[in-house]
């Protein structure tokens, strides 16, 4: 591939302790691109993203962020380049949206700087982009699921990074809030050139909101390329275990699939 990769891994192994998820995984992510990791449950897509996010260390090999080993540099230095929207959040009781979003300045001002109230432009902009102006003084545990996810998104935005990683950001949202969030992500990419890497369950969302889809199965990359190439009946049959029709959505121009029957292979029955 050409261009300059922000992420580069060559033959890394990922997993948790003795449990190896992926071996010899190589991938690079171009600056300013939108990449979706897709795959069936247990395919290793979330583990891959967590390894790229330095939430877990690779079992072998290294992840390079802008040419430097992500686990061999100060984590605050990484936090100024890359923000993460994790899959699950811990919500402290009685914390307001503003108090949450303020924390996004931590990598920039450091621990002692955080003793002061943070109210610079980054926070105001994060709140504006996520349309949380009316909620700044609301406690997070009183918000709806969609508002809450926007608040966590605002926290990531307040970090003002050039890279954003999202781990199944739409899982607990209704369809309207799903599109809302994915459009926000796409706008960040289009308007500010933010590099996006996200794990998505919904293949049609992945096809519509990314330039590149990486399909994983059994810890390996089984397809990698533009959505129109990756999203094919063969892939859905072989790795997702569904018979599906793939067509082009006339309104958006992106490929979409309609799965209509699970395949019960003999192999599965014997396992």
């Amino acid at each position: 591939m050409t261009g300059n990769p922000v992420f580069l891994t060559e033959g890394i192994s990922t997993g948790y302790g003795r449990h190896v998820v992926s071996k010899h995984l190589s991938l690079s992510v171009e600056k300013g691109s939108r990449t979706s990791l897709v795959g069936p449950n247990g395919s290793g897509k979330s583990t891959t993203l967590k390894t790229m996010a330095r939430l877990i260390e690779p079992l072998a090999g290294a992840v390079y962020l802008n040419g430097q080993d992500i686990n061999r540099q100060p984590t605050r230095h990484v936090a100024r380049q890359m923000a993460i929207l994790p899959q699950v959040h811990e919500v402290p009781a009685e914390l307001t949206v503003l108090e949450l979003v303020e924390q996004g300045r931590f990598p920039h001002v450091g621990a002692l700087g955080m003793l002061r109230r943070q109210d610079d432009d980054a926070i105001q902009e994060a709140i504006r982009l996520t349309r949380l102006e009316d909620f700044v003084h609301r406690s997070i545990d009183t918000l709806s699921g969609g508002e809450r996810q926007r608040a966590w998104m605002a926290l990531a935005l307040a970090q003002q990074t050039e890279i954003l990683l999202l781990d199944e950001p739409t899982t607990f949202l209704d369809v309207g809030h799903q599109l809302d969030l994915l459009e926000l992500v796409s706008n960040l990419n289009r308007d500010r050139g933010v590099t996006i890497v996200m794990v998505l369950h919904d293949l049609n969302h992945a096809a519509r909101f990314s330039d590149r889809m990486i399909a994983m199965s059994g810890g390996e990359i089984v397809a990698d390329g533009p959505p129109a190439e990756v999203l094919a009946p063969g892939l859905l049959r072989d790795y997702f275990g569904v018979e599906a029709a793939v067509m082009t959505d006339e309104k958006t121009g992106s490929p979409m699939c309609i799965p209509y029957a699970p395949i019960h292979s003999d192999q599965d029955d014997h396992e």
């Binding site: 996010a53 936090a79 811990e90 621990a111 970090q159």
Partner: protein, 339 residues
């Protein structure tokens, strides 16, 4: 809110100094405080008894309550408190051990004043360290494992203390006062021990507030923000342990304060630790000063209910009041919070 609480603390502390077996008017207290008392016993009552005791009550209440606030946020558990992670029990055991081993030597009571706080602080720090080390796995600790380990260690330490109580014979009275928490006979000697511990903990507290603010958002988010989460957790826990061990080492295992103080504070100012920690400290100080004021009032001879003084002539321990008032109050808070 914080200013109001600070004002309230000053008011209850002043009231504390005024009230007692002999009630002093504000003017008399003022004169005694500026060392121009008209009678010697005023000066002694105020300076030698009430002032050091109220200062110890305020300081140790603040320390215990802010320790609870740190623990609740870093362990992300509303039930976390010095007593649920074994620190209180460790400090109490340290104090009881020191008491038991010095009972043999008669006339060593003066030495006790110095030995017991040291032994108790060491016990609390040791308990905290053991809990942390036992919770450590390959990738570090996690809140649930810390709490479970803490509960187990607390139970083990308590059983050792119970055993010591059983074999302590005639000294059972002074040991039980340590278990419950008491401020009687606390004087400048104790404050001289407590104040340096607090002074040592203060810069630690300031340093860990932003770390705890980030860490309470979860390990993933705090890593994303550029925090070394395991290191931060260790620092925050250490700070909480120092605060709690110091407090318990002088007052004993005051029930519920480390749990209720932060809860009450959270309903007042929310979960941002920059405010929550200050508020918890103030709330803890107010509660312990008020509780000890009640304990002193109920210890007076003119209360004709029952003779609640024990054989050795000691008074109702303050811990009995925090437990008695604290438990129902905590239930009330929980029910209110659910709505």
């Amino acid at each position: 809110m914080l200013v109001a609480l600070g004002g309230l603390l000053i008011v209850v502390m002043f009231a504390y100094v005024m009230l007692g077996p002999v009630i002093f008017g504000p003017d008399l207290v003022y004169k005694a405080l500026i060392n121009q008392a008209e009678e010697v016993h005023h000066r002694i009552s105020v300076w030698e008894v009430r002032v050091p005791r109220v200062l110890i009550a305020a300081l140790s209440g603040a320390m215990l309550s802010s320790s609870g606030a740190l623990l609740q946020s870093v362990l992300r558990n509303p039930l976390a408190a010095p007593a649920t992670v074994g620190v209180t029990q460790g400090a109490v055991l340290g104090a009881v051990l020191a008491l038991v081993f010095t009972f043999g030597s008669e006339g060593a009571l003066d030495d006790l004043n110095f030995l017991v706080p040291w032994a108790a602080t060491s016990g609390g720090l040791a308990a905290g360290t053991v809990v942390y080390v036992l919770s450590y796995r390959r990738a570090g600790t996690d809140p649930i494992r810390l709490i479970l380990t803490g509960v187990v260690v607390a139970a083990a330490l308590s059983s050792v203390t119970s055993f010591l109580v059983l074999i302590s014979g005639s000294h059972i009275d002074s040991i039980v006062r340590w278990l419950v928490g008491s401020l009687s006979t606390r004087t400048w000697d104790h404050l001289v021990f407590l104040a340096p511990v607090a002074a040592l903990a203060l810069p630690l507290v300031v340093w860990v507030i932003p770390l705890a603010n980030a860490l309470q958002l979860g390990d993933s988010t705090s890593v994303s923000l550029g925090l070394r989460s395991e290191l931060a957790r260790a620092f925050i826990l250490m700070t909480a342990v120092v605060l709690a061990a110091g407090s318990v080492s002088v007052v004993g295992g005051v029930a519920f304060l480390g749990l209720i103080g932060p809860h009450l504070a959270r309903t007042l100012v929310g979960s941002d630790l920059r405010r929550l920690l200050v508020c918890s400290a103030l709330v803890g100080a107010v509660i312990l000063v008020c509780a000890d004021l009640l304990a002193r009032v109920f210890s007076l001879d003119w209360i004709p209910l029952v003779d609640i003084r024990t054989e050795s002539g000691s008074r109702v321990p303050v811990g009995a009041f925090t437990a008695l008032v604290g438990a129902p109050f905590f239930l009330y808070l929980m029910r209110e919070g659910k709505r």
